[in-house]
Each structure stands twice: as C-alpha cells, then as structure tokens.
Amino acid sequence: MSLRKRVVDLYKNLYHMGKEYPGGSKWFHDRLKLAFSKNKNVEDPTQIEQLIGRGEFVVKEIEALYSLRKYRAMKQRYYDKEDEITAATQKFEESVKKL
C-alpha cells in the first residue's frame, strides 16, 4: 500500500472513530483536521511512517477509551458488589494498558 493511501485510510479511520467521541464529534474532528494539516508538508518517508505510527497509536487509545467507558457504565448499572468485579476490572484495565 502506498504511503498516501495509508495516510488517507488513517484519516478516514480516525474520522469514523471520532463520530462517537464523548466530548462531541466536532471537537474531535476539528483537532483531527488540524493535526493532519499541520504535517501536510512532511515529505520524508521515514518521518511519514513515524507519523502514521503515532496516528495508529491514537486509534488504539480511542478504542480502549470507548470499551473502558462502556464497561464502566455496565458495571456501575448492573453490578452492586464492588469487590466481586474489582479483579475483573483490574484484569481489563491491565489489558487496556498493554494496547
């Protein structure tokens, strides 16, 4: 895949993920655009590679954020006994950290 295609895909992917951003999609999309346009003049392939890597890291972070947010909401709503699930939460949070 060409670098150009990868950058475009990354942008599309981030845009898609920003649609359900808790703070509002606009906040996310504005910042996303800014981040990409800031680096629009970068031409060095290794540097572009690095920036793509950073973007992919952000994708993983957002995925983790969304799943943790949903997990917490479910836990709060349906599980009264805190201690019973603390272990499960810890396990989950550790796995999120690894991402």
Binding site: N13, R69, Y71, A88
Partner: protein
C-alpha cells in the same frame, strides 16, 4: 460447531432515557441506537471460538424492525460470517417479548441446524434476562447462564454438552471495536431477511403496558447553619442517640 448469536438493537447505553409524555413507553425516535452491550460480549466469545477453530461458523440473528439490520451489519463487521434478520414492523417490535424471541430463535436453530446459541445475559432496555432460559427450555438443551469464562474441556464450575444455550456475563471478555475497513467488508457479507410470517411464529403480546414512568427524583439536600444545627438535625432523623 455452528453458533447462532442473538443481537438486539437497543437505545445506546450512553443515551439519557426519556419517557414519552403519554407514558406509553420511552422515546426511541431520533435516539441513537446500538447493539446491546451484553450481546456484543456473546458475539465476541463466538468469534473468538471461531478464531480458535473450535467453531466453524458464526451467524448473527436479530428479531426486530427494519433498522435491526444496522446491528446485524455491526455484528458482521465484528466477525460474524452471516446474518439473519427476522422482520417485524416497528410497531410490532416495540411489543416483542422474550418468549417471542425464543420461539423465533428455536425455529431458526431447527431449520439451520445450529449447535449452540450465544446470547447476552440481558438486554439493557427491558432487562428481562429471559430469552436464554426460555430458549433452552423450548429446545430442551442444557443452558449455561451468566457465563464468565468459556473453555473447551476445562475444569470449569459447570460443564455443558453440545448443543447448548449460553448467556454472556460482563466479565466474559472485552468486545472488539468494529473498525472502518471491517465495516466496509461487512457490506458484502450475506444478510438474509425472513418475514416473521414465513416462520409461522405467533407474536401476539401477552403483556399489557399500563404505564411507564420516570424513576422518582432524588430529593435535594438542605443546609445547616452550624454544628449545633447539624447535631439537632441528626438527632431529629435518629442518626445519633439523643
């Protein structure tokens, strides 16, 4: 092993639920919907089993109005191979009960020869937790409810023989996110729509909704002037001995 996974389209967990002014139900028009979070967990488990080659095929199922196809597409994006949408009108969908869903699932399981059915332990809209046990009863299959771990031949707390019905607990796994490329690929996966009439399942409501109301609002707290006032209040409420 062929696994059927039931997924329900519900009002998104992050949405603040509002009751309709005429108290006939909750507002669903123009409200964000998504897949029931517990069904996501059931689906994730089935897809994981397929990735471990313990399952051959994962099929997503939904009984509901036309928009139920959205959650089926999400299920396909998350790794299901095929999807089956049993169609009812939105009007009928709002009156569906666990019993109707279980009867429909039974028909599908029998006609398509599934070996296991995975469901969420409950849906976050009606919270009834009934579909899995009713289905197990109708099929006369063993059931593993509120599963927090699934192992093949493991020394678990409970063993079930195939075929079986499973309902997924929150602790079971961490569902994956439907990525954009997978969503695009999912558009090409087969989604079969079957009108409920063709299955011959009677969905006449057995319950009648009298009234839906908001939970009582929490009473606002009061302020006290000083320590003496606080102590007096506490004594008045009986929290400290007089």
């Amino acid at each position: 092993m062929k696994i059927l996974v039931g997924v329900k389209r519900v009002v998104d967990y992050a949405v603040k639920i509002r009751v309709k002014p005429d108290r006939s139900g909750v507002v669903t028009e123009g409200v964000q919907h998504s897949m029931n979070p517990f069904d996501e967990i059931a689906l994730e488990e089935a897809v994981k089993l397929k990735e471990k080659k313990l399952a051959t095929e994962v099929v997503a199922f939904s009984l509901g109005g036309p928009k139920s196809q959205e959650v089926l597409r999400t299920a396909l994006a998350k790794g299901a191979d095929k999807a089956i949408h049993v169609q009812v009108s939105d009007e009928e969908a709002s009156k569906l009960e666990s019993f109707h869903v279980a009867k429909t699932l039974k028909k599908i399981v029998e006609s398509e020869k599934f070996d296991a059915v995975f469901l969420g332990k409950q849906a976050i809209d009606d919270d009834s937790s009934q579909t899995a046990p009713i289905l197990a009863g109708l099929l006369d299959w063993p059931q593993a409810l509120y599963a927090s771990k699934v192992e093949e031949g493991g020394d678990g707390h409970m063993k079930v023989k195939i075929p079986f019905v499973l309902s997924a607990d929150l602790r079971l796994n961490e569902p994956r996110y439907a990525t954009l490329p997978n969503i695009m690929k999912a558009k090409k996966k087969p989604l079969k729509a079957i009108p409920i009439k063709d299955l011959g399942v009677d969905i006449k409501p057995q319950t009648e909704t009298i009234e839906v109301t908001e939970p009582p609002v929490r009473q606002a707290g009061g302020f006290v002037e000083d320590v003496a006032g606080l102590v007096a209040k506490l004594k008045e409420k009986g929290f400290v001995k007089a």
